[in-house]
Amino acid sequence: MNSISRRKFLKISGFTVGAAAAVSAISPVIKGAKKINKEKIKGIQKIPTYCDICFWKCGAIAYLKDGKLWKIEGHPEDPLSKGRLCPRGTGGIGAYSDPDRLRSPLIRTRERGKEEWKEVTWGEAFDYIAEKMNKIKAQYGPEAVAFFAHGIGGNFLKHTLNAFGTQNISAPSFAQCRGPRDVGFELTFGDAIGSPERTDIENSKCLVLIGSHLGENMHNSQVQEFATAVQKDATIIVVDPRFSVAASKAKYYLPIKPGTDTALLLAWMNVIVSEKLYDVDYVTKFGFGFEQFAAEISQYTPEWAYPETGIDPELIRTTARVMSQHKPATLIHPGRHTTWYGDDTQRSRAIALLNALMGSWGRKGGFFFPTKFSIPGYPYPAYPEPAKPKVDNPNKKYPFASEEITTGVRDATITGKPYPIKSWFVYATNLMNALPNEEETIKAIQNLDLMVVVDVIPSEIAGWADVVLPESIYLERYDDLHSSPFKEQFLGIRQPVVDSPNDQKPNWWIAKKLAEKLGLGNYYPWNDIEEYLDFRLKKIGMSLEEMKKKGIIHGNKAPIYFEEGIVPEFATPSGKIEFYSPQLAEAGFDPVPKYKRPEQPPSGYFRLLFGRAPVHSFSRTQSNRILMDMMEENEIWVNEDVANRFGLKNAQHVRLKNQDGVVSNKIKVKITERIRPDCVYMVHGFGHNSKMLKGAFGKGASDAQLITKYKTDPLMGGTAMNVNFVTFEMEA
């Protein structure tokens, strides 16, 4: 059904070659200028841009030496990087020379997932896609097309698909990552944490990290601020089943039993309330339902928490008192990847409430109020009115979901309810590694009439596509203007530094060409992105030419703390900080967080925990040869006593088998005193099985493959993944 005859291809490509020629005729000056300016110039050229190796979008300066890409450094004017990129950003040039990059558009020639392709022209690819999309639209409506995207590069494709008539657009960054945290804080303070996090780490006098492994998790500004806090002798308290790098900087390390964080949080709040160590003025002025909250948590003594968490009651008391001594500059970090055990929104709410007791929301050294550079958008025609509501959360099954749920779209694709989803577009997110339970993802894909992946490398999800479109990497393209909500206002531009080596194209071009093919050309009134960017920049009295030279411009100084004049306002139903949440009670949930004991591993099994390494982003950088040189495989961290019990040797290879009998790729054992004996740990993103990723193929194991089980957060639909257990299978 998805095949197309060779004859038809020839006919179509004849037509599209003409179209492509017309396209390049529009912008010969730009293309020519690029070559003349960069390749012929001897010596050093510096070109400002912003990074794309993770989503932090640090300002950067790329260096060309004799017209060839040499290195990339932080942009000194950028408030995110402050002139210093993280190791991934510094190694970003490896994305350019990655020999495993996608080179030209591909259409699959065998059944899905077999990774057999034929190279086609862009015209052929667009014809194929547009024909399928129009068929789907005619039969099921435009809503039957869903889009999964990660990062700013997805903006233009989103625009095209919105214009096509679908609103089913989601990202794993909500239901597989930061969703519970943002909802937990929204329920409490009426506002989310956002990205970059609104955490004022550098001014914090007491920083509490619960499972957050800053330093291994390399979000640039946060790590820089963490190092500043360490230098300024802030008291650091780390709660983690693993002795993380951050734990090594801590004054107090709490080696908690996995899954029991809420018990610890309740006990801390019990101490702080019973000893009246909280910010009484702040709570009185801004708090709602404090009496009910206080009555509820009076039962959760440190002695109650001890058998759950394994943390000495005296250590719980001491750390609670230390936190209180430094308030309001006590920051209990909300974390980022927070989909752990299935009651994650309630745990995040407990973190929010502990911060509320410290009075840290809105205060220096706590949570600041971000400010953002304001620039008008491009005046596009209005999108078509949606005929159907979004598919991901029917009848508000998850009443507090504040963004779209990827796994809800996946469910709808499998069941056809509330209505069928017949096409997936996937931009720069490796869904096979991002979503739990690979089998369900494959089941959903098999129900599709069209699956399109746009990416720079052949990730596992590309292996399941019908059409793969190769995107230029960030150093080869323009993108949309970038302004993050942060401590100061700034605007950044991404611009091409080098030409794409093969037939890769920038996302804006792909999105515009597809729109034109679908008869939606009126949604792209501009001829090329330089015109678009210049139009927007002129609205603020700038020009593209000037912006390309500066890379980053600054906006007005704005207050970011209550102390600086921010008016304390809380967008909750009561207009206050909700210690007791009537809206949760009304919806049938606990109005004050309760602790639920997590399921324990069967004998001989260990809870599988996963996290980040500073030199890789998700499963997207393992084939970057510079970063591969830093870390080419992951290891399974095993406590020394456990290793002795199982007769494991350091650096030997084992396979991991989970509770459902799924066996991993082989992985190297790291025997260490840095982890509890009831869990094991690995860095996420390795164990690639895409045959096209030649460099990364088969190196290390994939945690995602072992995450067959997940628990869905009933408040917002987040999929908790730390609920899988593994044992060791020896390599013969």
Binding site: L85, L214, G215, V230, Q231, S248, K249, P614, M630
Partner: protein, 179 residues
């Protein structure tokens, strides 16, 4: 004349390897090789663990076995900052210096010569910091003249507890780790 050295604050270092990556791109270090690297020293029994992360490289020693053993004079002490360098054209790739170095700081470049950290002398001579120092997101590294008592490195060594690597080798290494 200056005597360049480095001071690295292990309290701030998170072992992110940015120093390693920056060296690689700055100096075009070939795939599979690095001029600097991270060592993590773990002591204790869970949960009472101590961790020290060290960004390591050539120590640009005052007493240089790598220079003493070089049969061609390729390994030498540079007049600027007493930095230990290898003259690629003179090196025959005999590996004597690799064997002599107690820090395992050298490797044979695929082009046939002994390769190692230069303290980014090409940058330092222009008034810039070595690439590893200038990139570090935690600002844990300092570089400067150990003979100048007012330099940042001298002040840090005087005021903070510190150690060198394998001092018993007698090479008088010029990288100091603050603890």
């Amino acid at each position: 004349m200056a005597r360049y050295g480095m001071v690295i604050d292990t309290k701030k270092c998170v072992g992110c390897m940015d120093c390693v990556v920056a060296c690689k791109t700055e100096n075009n270090v070939p795939e599979g090789h690095n001029r600097d690297w991270i060592v993590t020293v773990v002591n204790g029994k869970f949960p009472t663990v101590n961790l020290e992360i060290q960004s390591q490289r050539c120590n640009h020693c005052d007493n240089t076995p790598c220079v003493a053993c070089c049969p061609t004079g390729a390994s030498h002490v540079h007049e600027v900052g007493k930095v230990v360098l290898v003259e690629h054209n003179m090196c025959i790739g005999c590996k004597a210096c690799l064997a002599a170095c107690p820090y395992d700081a050298r490797f044979i470049n695929p082009e046939g010569y002994a390769d190692k950290c230069t303290f980014c002398i090409h940058r330092v001579e222009k008034g810039e910091l070595p690439a590893c120092v200038s990139v570090c997101p935690t600002h844990c590294m300092s570089f400067g003249d150990l003979d100048d008592p007012n330099s940042e490195v001298s002040r840090l060594i005087a005021s903070r507890k510190n150690h060198q690597l394998i001092p018993e080798a007698g090479t008088q290494p010029r990288i100091f780790y603050l603890t």
